[in-house]
Subunit: 421 residues, 2 copies
């Protein structure tokens, strides 16, 4: 095996643990300096490769790279950019080959979700279709938990933990206030297509500490009367309740509930979230005082309360990706294989990229309770190990000590520029 | 001193650490069983006293009471209810005396903010005005940090820490996304009258790790052009920025920015938050892609990342309140007195209630930077020790082990009921 350099990049929405994967990739590559030269990171994902904007990770100390494990967000910058097909945009592929060739890159690690898997698959075909020898390994990451084959996706467990804890804490709060003031708290969470994250809100209620939680899943068409009846029953029994609503909830007409055609005083369209919409429905239908929150980026950036399971798996995926490359694999993705629930045991598996790209894993129907507002035991058994364990970052003066890299650019070797469209 | 029972209640919006104060009150009272009989908690604040709905805290084990220290929200229920003046509503005061007399209550501990201090002051006057001997001690609590005399208020430090960390984490997130996607993240925080909590967002940026953060304070009238210029300059320099906006921000016309006269498709008024309003102003004025979040209850319930300083002070205030009572004081409030900044040293002081009730402490002008969008060194020096230290709750299966009390009711002794208006 001739010694080649590696390319690593982060793609799509970032997470609390995608840098833990970067840490796994870089630390493992550094242990194999006989086979892997340098790890070049793409500045802002694949765009860094296209524009020859590479970061020399060898300029970062071992200590700095280790600190990536407890730093949220994408340390090298991410992008939302999907390569087109070879037939549609051959110049992109030719450009990638030119950049890879100029920098002696033989390994391509792409860290992202479904769209990124598609980009990675296309790069993996450079060898057979354009004759440039490259091994492309996709490294799974997505808070949406919607990649197929893998039991779960790094990034999801930490969001799930954050939402479960936030729902627990807010429920305690509204319970205290409910006698004379707020009776319902509405929390909007991510998940445009699948209810994985909303389901995590249900974990706040346990056998030891039962809480009234109503979940609105994108998988279940919103029916106003049924919803109001449910909230009313909860408030009647418990004095209060929490509603966890997925941003992707739709009415029976298929339209997003968030899309209420809001206009300001001047008639301008306003984009609101779904939480205030649901809160208003409760106010108008039942007259209860409410509060609402929108977690947005806070949920996926909350490294301060990341799941230990998630951090370990994120690191393991990065490590496995490099090992797969060293074993000569191309066009594959490491996966998490659940071996048992109690005790939770998992191992690393391998999936062919062509079975991953553009396939979206939905939440099983059996995870949603019969009335459509809660989660089943099956769902709990699935989620429980993913939110388990804490992995606190170090602190200084009350704040987590997250690391920022120097991100030193690699000297360009091509004298051509490339415009990303 | 004859042995009397004590009444303790929680009032107003709850916090991550008000139960730590309850823990301080109950544990300290238990150490003085020769002088204080039982601690009866009011179910839902003063309403519990008026309706003779008392909770016997002696039915809770030492271990359960100790767990209050790490449990957010109000364990006995809170209320938003302000006693009227003696002249206006004499029957309420007579009822209180009847309940106190029936249960041999000689100590009254009321745990709340400015409105609650007023209620406590009125109760403290029962002795001289209606001849019922009682010692009323107010115990400070409010996330708004707006009580006078005390250097800071228990509850605020933990919200400040949560907002500082959330702003830090979200800033890292948007920085990663900014190349091809989101350039501005807007976070709405509490604070209708004063910008204390919004100021905490500024703590996310430090000397070691400077971040582009724009703060919108309720103390500074919102000017669209100046704001857009500031955001534009930040994005130009850093590629992204975070905006921390207080819910109480007003325009130069004095109207809340959140109040934009939103109407849904049917013409119904809709209550939105200020975050989406600010996000839309950015979108329309600068065209940047944005994300926005509303922390709402999450910020004040986030015991999982409470400030250690805050937890310690919350406990100390409860302890001091009982000690003041044992020393024979009436109509006072324990305070936090800052002795020095570096190293941070503080001690317990005492304030007369008549100087606390109905006095709102605003944020000093010297805490806001000259351009109105940031915090000064003076503000940083003030906030720094308040967010310092972590005080993690214990966990089970990935969730904090918060405690719920049995809250056993004390047998009623009066055969009259009382309707709270």
């Amino acid at each position: 095996m001739t010694k080649k350099n590696a390319f690593y990049a982060q793609s799509g929405g970032v997470t609390a643990v995608i840098n833990a994967t970067a840490c796994g990739v870089i630390e493992t590559a550094r242990q194999h300096k006989d086979k892997i030269g340098k790890v070049y990171a793409g500045r802002n994902g694949i765009i860094g490769a296209l524009t020859e904007d590479l970061i020399d990770t060898s300029r970062e100390s071992a200590r700095t790279i280790a600190a990536l494990r407890h730093t949220p967000s994408g340390a090298f910058g991410s992008c939302r950019y999907k390569l087109k097909g070879l037939e549609e945009n051959r110049r992109e592929y030719e450009r990638l080959i030119a950049v890879f060739e100029a920098h002696n890159i033989g390994y391509f690690f792409y860290n992202g979700g479904g769209d990124s898997a598609d980009t990675c698959l296309k790069v993996s075909q450079l060898s057979e279709r354009l004759g440039y020898p490259i091994q492309a390994i996709h490294v799974p990451k997505t808070v949406d938990n919607d990649l197929p084959i893998t039991d779960n996706c790094p990034g999801f467990g930490s969001v799930a933990k954050y939402i479960a804890i936030s729902t627990l804490e807010a429920s305690y709060d509204v319970a205290s206030m409910s006698k004379t003031s707020t009776k319902v708290f509405v929390l909007e969470v991510m998940g445009r297509h699948a209810g994985w994250i909303a389901a995590a809100g249900g974990m706040a209620s346990t056998e030891q500490d039962e809480l009234p939680i109503v979940i609105l899943f994108p998988e279940v068409a919103f029916q106003k009367k049924r919803f109001l009846d449910k909230v009313k029953a909860m408030v009647k029994e418990h004095g209060y309740c929490s509603v966890v609503v997925s941003e992707g909830v739709r009415g029976r007409d298929g339209k997003f509930l968030a899309d209420q055609g809001l206009r300001d005083a001047f008639g301008h369209a306003q984009l609101g979230g779904v939480a205030p919409v649901v809160a208003n429905i409760i106010k108008q239908g039942l007259g209860y005082k409410y509060h609402w929150g929108v977690a947005d980026y806070l949920q996926r950036a909350a490294r301060h309360i990341a799941s230990k399971t998630d951090v370990e798996q994120a690191y393991a995926m990065g490590k496995a990706a490099v090992q797969f490359a060293l074993q000569g694999h191309n066009s594959v993705m490491p996966t998490i294989v659940r071996a048992s629930n109690k005790p939770y045991r998992w191992k690393v598996g391998m999936a062919p990229l062509k079975k991953v790209a553009n396939v979206e894993k939905m939440m099983p129907k059996s995870f949603i309770s019969r009335d459509g507002f809660g989660i089943t035991k099956k769902c709990r058994d699935y989620l429980a190990p993913l939110i388990r364990g804490e992995d606190y970052p170090p602190y200084r003066d009350g704040l987590p000590r997250y690391v920022r890299l120097k991100n030193v650019a690699v000297k360009k070797k091509l004298n051509t520029s490339f415009k990303v469209k």
